[in-house]
Amino acid sequence: MNFLSDIGHVLLTADLWRATLEAAALLLLPALGGVISERSGVVNIAMEGMMLTGAFFAVVADLAWHNPWLAALVGIVAGGLMALIHAVVSIRFRADQIVSGIAINIFAAGLTLFLVQRIFGLQDVGHVGQSELLPYINIPVLDQIPFLGRVLFQQNVVVYAALILLVVVQVMLFRTRLGLRIRSVGEHPQAADTAGINVFAIRYGAVITSGLLSGLAGAFLAIGISNTFVPNMTDGRGYIALAAMIFGKWTPIGAFVACLIFGLGQAIYDANSIIHVSQYLLSMLPYILTLVVLAGVVGRSIPPAADGIPYAPENE
């Protein structure tokens, strides 16, 4: 079967694995955000909308100020502000967190499209110049290693950042006092409250952090991988990140493994010119894999105990 030999041929190229890591990093950022948010007990299906918002505002800022770093910061803050809405609605007003998440995603899609039209009219958003994109950086010496150098050390600056954040979040969640607090709030908020932990502060912080990370991913997508904003350009990546979070059983490392698998699918999709299978069927892969995982084939995937339940203190 020539499909298999084609896959085999592609799998041997360093470029495919470089692209895999890049696609995985793009998914990893919102997935990490999702892990933090849900570990604190707030269901977050709004990564899609927060990414899209980050992407839009990063492009607008880059076009205005011609500085990718400042633009990335604007994208991060924009994602964080979207998350703040989700936080206020679902923590302060104790709304259903799924409804709020859906509303964020619809709001982000509508708002970015609306603003594109108000700011740019019927024309294109415009393209960011090559020198104003988030740069690809070759790490000296290491990038000369055969194969691995190409895969690991000739990446976008955001890919390095994502890998560092992966370690930071993993250590923070499972090796620090803050991580213990976040997890206890997500498992048993009453007990955490009794122990003197500020449940609301932890949850606000966790949700906003998820927005900052998703906003960075949006900026990476728009002014790193691409060089412009097109409506709905995240195209379900926030939901794939959600799938990665579940696939990885709500742990950063697990989510990263899932992101690598999904990223490989994306990379094969992009290299489709030499693979004779419909790219649309390949696009289903992350979702089908997640269904399989949820079906318990690879062991149960169980969310934090208080995930999705608004916290109402007794004395209120």
Partner: protein, 411 residues
Amino acid sequence: MAASTATIGRRPGPRWASAARRVAGGFAVPLGSVVFAFLVGGLIVAVTGGNPFAAYQGLLCGGLGIACSTTTGENPALQISTTIVFFTPLLMTGIAVALPFRAGLFNIGAEGQLLAGSVACTIIGIKFSNLPAPILLPMVLLGGTLAGAVWAGVPGVLKATIGAHEVVTTIMLNYIAQWLVRFLIVGGPLQAANGFSASSPIGAGAYLPLFLPNDNSLIIFGLPAGVYRVHTGLLIGLAALVIFAILLWRTSLGYEIRAVGQSPRAARYGGINVARTIIVTMLIAGAFSGLAGAIQIAGVDHNLTDKYFNDTTGFDAIAVALLGLGSAVGILFASILFGALHAGGSVMQADAGISSSLVQILQALILFSIAANFLRVLRLPVFGQRPSAPAPTAPAAALMTEAAKAPPVET
């Protein structure tokens, strides 16, 4: 019965007064949410340099055919007909979300189920295109219904047997359906020979009849009858609402669904097979959504096109079900609202120069408002005295029943 507790008011007073209060309370939350959304939406338009009054005039004209500007020349009758075509599928996808809500399930998958129905309808309609209407039309509608049921049955079974969260599984199935549609009509087995991203048309026998003859010599409200696209799917949608209401309130299955939604544990003690109820609920919900998808093909488009890549009928259904508080009458009004918003969006864009994506913003604001119950926090008497957290077992369903009944019952 669990449901009858909602009608036993504790407050003394004449019967009509408590009934009136209940009706007012039932309408207050959704109406308040809509008002809130339009206020904030208007603010967003104003802040970005647009004229909110012109925008809303465009929406009103495009959606309901009233307040049309004399210079732009919209035909009110045509606008109303467009709104009806837009809201017809929402009646059924709204049920597909509202019914599982009653069982404490959150079906985000109405979109995927609708697409499954559209795909099945298209395949059957093309494969058997020579059959006469009395055979083919029921076949395509039934095929779509079954496909939708299967698409929703998977999350139902996964939920009932191993507890996989239906929100996540239905999201996954939405994307699988969307990519399936792209696969089928872009280079796939359903793509028509002309090379466009669309399937061949279904057989003429699979067309849902229009209300008005497709006859351009007949002039109705100043336009040829053929331009009005209102089709008999509307009658199916209205019948679906009646069936939904009867199913929910007049059958033992409906009682079981509501009991499971109120408390799965209590339902289990009461002898209800919870797993079976969950699966059946999802199958029925998916059937309604699949029927909507079949009706869109059989009544409106007649082939599967790239328009379905960006279809949002199944997502709008979430807002429809929440705004309609999960009741048949509520779904009807909420569907009309969102049908009118979608129809009005394009007129607003053309006449007032305000992007039709404002409609999405309004929809999101309505969702925020109804979920967060902002109005309740204002502590106006009509909205109930104190904010209270939804029950942990089924937040969205609890929210809905809580909002629907006023005064709340103490437990």
